[in-house]
Symmetry: C2
Subunit: 242 residues, 2 copies
Amino acid sequence: MSADPAVRREIPDATVARLPEYLRSLSRLAEQGVLSVSSEELSAAVGVRSAQLRKDLSHLGSYGVRGVGYEVDTLAFEISRALGLTQDWPVAIVGMGNLGHALASYSGFVTKGFRIVALFDDDPALRGETVAGVAIQPFRELRSRHGADPIAIGVIATPAAAAQTVCDELVEVGVRSILNFAPAVLSVPEDVDVRRVDLSTELQILAFHAQQKALAGLQPVGAAHALDGCVAHAADPEAVAT
Amino acid sequence: MSADPAVRREIPDATVARLPEYLRSLSRLAEQGVLSVSSEELSAAVGVRSAQLRKDLSHLGSYGVRGVGYEVDTLAFEISRALGLTQDWPVAIVGMGNLGHALASYSGFVTKGFRIVALFDDDPALRGETVAGVAIQPFRELRSRHGADPIAIGVIATPAAAAQTVCDELVEVGVRSILNFAPAVLSVPEDVDVRRVDLSTELQILAFHAQQKALAGLQPVGAAHALDGCVAHAADPEAVAT
DNA sequence: CTCACTTTGTGCATAGGTTCACAAACGTCT
DNA sequence: AGACGTTTGTGAACCTATGCACAAAGTGAG
Ligand SMILES: NC(=O)c1ccc[n+]([C@@H]2O[C@H](COP(=O)([O-])OP(=O)(O)OC[C@H]3O[C@@H](n4cnc5c(N)ncnc54)[C@H](O)[C@@H]3O)[C@@H](O)[C@H]2O)c1
Ligand SMILES: NC(=O)c1ccc[n+]([C@@H]2O[C@H](COP(=O)([O-])OP(=O)(O)OC[C@H]3O[C@@H](n4cnc5c(N)ncnc54)[C@H](O)[C@@H]3O)[C@@H](O)[C@H]2O)c1
């Protein structure tokens, strides 16, 4: 079984979470006309250790050349392929309030194979409105819309109170991947993948660290450097010369 | 030092990331008039194992009662205190485009001690506009505004090209905590805490898992359980059209 | 061809996180 | 008071992730 040569390697979650970063940096480099990059350079650009980058990439296969580095185009393609970005992902957004509008009009998605195919909102006031070329529909249209152009990823941007209901209906029509912006824990069958983005959580984590720093600063626990010079950029010791 | 009763224990990052979830569930329970909760109940509500919840809480101290559970109010307060939410955190948002507007008008922040004190945008078209009672100012006003009411947390919602510059200026006036929505890696002094939220990354992670599921579904590699009775509703077979 | 130099890919050690399983602590009932 | 069922808090095992260090594999010069 596992002796299959072309076996789907287990790519660790932590690695998967970093691949988009690598891909972004590679795209940037490609735009600049850079043809080849070493793990040292690329890792510096994304802010990780070079060993980590190499280990991450090793999970995809051997696409580097020893003594040389990685060909930018090749590596970008291989990461895209591993992430599944070489195919098309029809996305639907449910809840076209402030956040939904921002998401729908954001062009950053489209560049990576994500295509917004439907926008849903039950507010009659939004009926007929078009955002980025897609009309807003009542949520009950989900079934018919889904039949026409199956939705692969559902984005929930409704208030928390509606999130579980919306989620259930998305799951019912076959959506297996959900990105949830509502501050609610969604209950789904185990074959459905839910990721939650919560800005409030992020702020709270920042607050925690800020408080820790403040407390450390009051104690003479070696906070001598807390007031250091200033804005000297955190040039890592290994910041590579150009 | 370590004999200090109120010693600042090291709270693991993974735990800190979950504390806001616990707090949210506790707040919900408090609203419902629930006075006491067991680790089993609370963990079920947030979707983690009970042992994990207990271990997480043990880092804050012993606030449970054996054989009984946790008093909702007490636990909520202790988590709030650990996260630093018992104090006030002045927040500034830079970049009042689609996303900035959504963030500024979002009421979820305010409830937890976060107070939006300034909104910045260099676009003359936005001059004078007010969102949620706060006027949008040109970014160069940062210094004066900061002096009046020091900013603890800066939120960057500008295009990626402007993110580093904005970040530098925030750091220069003393902001030590930054939440970055722009798809850019920020370089900062090591005493500055940057968290990045990237919707595109989240979608890409979802796409990866969706692809893995699709591939596993095609191979009989022990996918027998994939058809378990979870989803009673036969979804369209994953359309893997090109 | 050989040597010197560069950079990848990876084995291994360390660190961090999760889960299990159970003794200790508590309330309650008799 | 003592026995009993419940739930916490935590040691220990297990799993995952990170960082180090180096052999292997390549390039290019002479
Ligand atoms: N705005 C932000 O910056 C922000 C930040 C963090 C989290 N959030 C969360 O994101 C979600 C959306 O935020 P928002 O600011 O856009 O809220 P909003 O109130 O502006 O928009 C919510 C939209 O959902 C629609 N809706 C409600 N129930 C629906 C249903 N059953 N089916 C379809 N549409 C429905 C409403 O008509 C409304 O247009 C909320 O859960 C909020 O907590 C928002
Ligand atoms: N809208 C989304 O859903 C979304 C999703 C993911 C990421 N993002 C990222 O968030 C950021 C903002 O997104 P958006 O959709 O709001 O973009 P936007 O173009 O609508 O808004 C950007 C705003 O920043 C302002 N700005 C530019 N340079 C500035 C400077 N130096 N100082 C102050 N203000 C400045 C502009 O005037 C504009 O109002 C972008 O980096 C985008 O990639 C947005």
